[in-house]
């Protein structure tokens, strides 16, 4: 009882079936479906075992009389025979994927319409066989767009290595940082720089250390104390190196105070509590929070605000940005943090990535504009090319 096993039981009581469990062709069968086509189906895990069948509905499908209940699909290894039942699909269906094919074996497919009691003539197609494919064509867009982007990134990286002047606009956040440090100098109070609680391999931490180097050079110049609390031992030693180097570069190695680069605690809230203690005791006039922050962002920014310090923050942790924006004087949003570090360091790999992303965004915007117009104009082939699954 093939029909039953597909949950199609309404007509089953009246149907006349042969040994194979299929309805006999009796009087007025529905008109047959047309134009059966079968082709190797390529998917993301293609082992050559899938063949996709498509056909055009029987003219009676959906018509008032002789309504079609569904279609039987058969697969055979020799022409002219229906072979084994492959599946029964409901009315209105025009495609089916046979995922039980053996790669390389030629198959002949047939499809017939049924009204529940009788079968139409066959529409047939064959031979066709499943192939192990070498490329998932639907993913071409990913390959092409990633290829364009990588070409841009590598070109700009090469240009930067050769010393070409690549323009990157100055991030307003950097001005805010410098103003804050200047203000602390004016007031004769220290600057507090928190490089987040990320590990040393976190790209936000790395970007933060670049900016720390810039800040340290300014504080070295003005001989303003710079306090750097850290939550990771490795970040502390990296910060020590960065600050010491900056003081040496400014010709003030003696002004460098190693006691101001501190490891406080690995535990999130304990760290926040300890930094808050520094804010209340040593009263820095400028608090800079740049790097990877989690829930402690809120505790730091609140205490700093209460203590009346100028606060500048920057992070790519989206869920923490709202708190920084509302409690700090200036906030570097997401990519601005990386851009600021590329701008300051002029490191080719960072500049190449930044410039490559920039121009890829322009390509993207252009593609989206064309796509929207095409989509409204009904040019689906163009738009569907970007549909990759």
């Amino acid at each position: 009882m093939v029909a039953l096993s597909f949950g199609w039981a309404s007509a089953q009581d009246e149907s006349v079936t042969d040994e194979a469990g299929l309805p006999h062709p009796v009087a007025f069968p529905p008109a047959p479906p047309r134009d059966l086509a079968a082709a190797d189906f390529v998917d993301n895990n293609d082992a050559g075992d899938k063949i996709e069948l498509t056909w055009v509905l029987s003219p009676d499908d959906g018509a008032e009389e002789a309504n079609v209940a569904g279609y039987y699909l058969w697969r055979s290894e020799s022409p002219g025979a229906r072979g084994d039942t492959l599946a029964f699909v409901g009315a209105g269906t025009t495609d089916f994927v046979d995922d039980t094919a053996v790669p390389g074996v030629p198959y002949y497919y047939s499809v017939t319409a049924t009204d529940g009691t009788s079968l139409s003539d066959d529409a047939t197609f064959g031979p066709v066989s499943g192939r192990r494919n070498w490329f998932t064509v639907s993913r071409l867009a990913v390959l092409v767009l990633a290829g364009i982007f990588f070409a841009l990134v590598l070109t700009f990286t090469r240009l930067a290595e050769r010393g070409a002047k690549l323009f990157v606009r100055r991030i307003p956040g950097l001005n805010a940082i410098e103003e804050a440090v200047g203000r602390a100098t004016e007031m004769g109070r220290p600057v507090l720089y928190v490089p987040g609680i990320g590990e040393i391999d976190n790209i936000m931490t790395i970007a933060s250390l670049t900016i720390l180097s810039h800040v340290a050079r300014i504080t070295a110049r003005y001989e303003t104390p710079l306090i750097v609390p850290t939550a990771r031992a490795v970040v502390m030693s990296a910060a020590e190196e960065v600050v010491k180097e900056a003081y040496a570069a400014e010709g003030k190695p003696d002004a460098y105070n190693p006691d101001n680069i501190r490891y406080l605690s690995d535990a999130q809230f304990a760290f926040a509590g300890a930094v808050n203690g520094i804010m209340l005791r040593e009263r820095p006039a400028a608090n800079l929070y740049l790097g990877a922050f989690w829930a402690e962002s809120l505790l730091l920014a609140e205490t700093g605000f209460e203590a009346g310090a100028i606060q500048v923050a920057g992070t790519a942790m989206v869920s923490q940005l709202p708190f920084f924006v509302t409690a700090c004087d200036y906030t570097l949003l997401g990519e601005e943090l990386y851009a600021a570090s590329a701008y300051l360091s002029r490191e080719p790999k960072l500049l190449g990535g930044l410039k490559g992303s920039d121009w890829m965004k322009i390509v993207t915007i252009a593609l989206m504009a064309i796509g929207i117009i095409m989509s409204i104009a009904g040019a689906d082939a163009f738009v569907e090319w970007f549909h990759t699954n």
Binding site: L145, K355, D358, G371, T388, N389
Partner: protein, 227 residues
């Protein structure tokens, strides 16, 4: 060890294990909340428990659920009837290399293991982001339903397209934010602020929910004030 068996026996929810457990849980909860008054030894005690149990728990379940079936049983199935996967020797060696980090003379070998997973994750993330978060998002923007949905739907959908473009331009660093670019960036920042506002509201909601969860535990499971 019969006392231990007895500890766990009884109707669900009423065993000695559960009754005592609830008390232990409640006291530890209060230890953490004492931080609200100020940092203190009770909080520090609770925190150090948390770190120790968490690490050991992870290690144990890592052994039972990952390492044992994937590595040890694959290599030495014993009488479990599962096939021997001899080639799992290679990741086994890499895993040992990884742990050589603890021995300064051999720690350079741990880089081989690190290089293996860094390379794999770099590629898996690359294709994942490229497909799902880049190309698919371009496709979704292209197919924004601008037509056939009435005036309100048109305005809202158009505003979404404008927002995507403006935010992309806000994070464009190769040109000063002046002129047309300045206008686009201004629009971009408006969208970002609304989104951060939504994020803010949701974050508040999440934190409050956690407190409600703990309060439910204290009032219901421990004190039985509510049901």
């Amino acid at each position: 060890m019969s006392w231990l068996q007895e500890f766990f026996t009884g109707a669900p929810g009423t065993t000695t294990a559960v009754v005592w457990g609830t008390w232990v849980g409640a006291l530890l909860t209060l230890c953490i909340y004492s931080f609200l008054y100020k940092d203190n030894p009770f909080y520090k005690f609770a925190e150090s428990l948390f770190v120790g149990i968490g690490a050991a728990y992870w290690l144990a379940i890592l052994y039972h659920n990952t390492l044992k079936p994937k590595l040890f049983v694959a290599l030495f199935p014993g009488d479990s009837g599962e096939p021997v996967l001899w080639y799992r020797v290679f990741p086994g060696i890499l895993a040992i290399f990884m742990l050589l980090r603890f021995f300064p003379k051999l720690s350079w070998l741990s880089r081989w293991a690190l290089a293996f997973i860094v390379g794999m994750y770099a590629a898996v993330n690359l294709t994942g982001f490229a497909q799902a978060d880049f190309v698919e998002q371009i496709y979704a923007t292209m197919t924004t339903p601008l037509t056939g949905g009435g005036v309100l739907s048109f305005i809202l959908n158009l505003s979404a397209v404008v927002g995507v473009v403006a935010v992309l331009l806000y994070f464009f660093f190769s040109k000063e934010h002046k002129g047309a670019m300045g206008v686009a960036a201004k629009i971009g920042i408006l969208y970002l602020m609304v989104a951060f506002g939504a994020s803010f509201g949701y974050t508040v909601m999440g934190r409050v929910s956690l407190l409600i969860g703990r309060m439910t535990f204290l009032l219901r499971d421990w004190l039985h004030v509510i049901d």
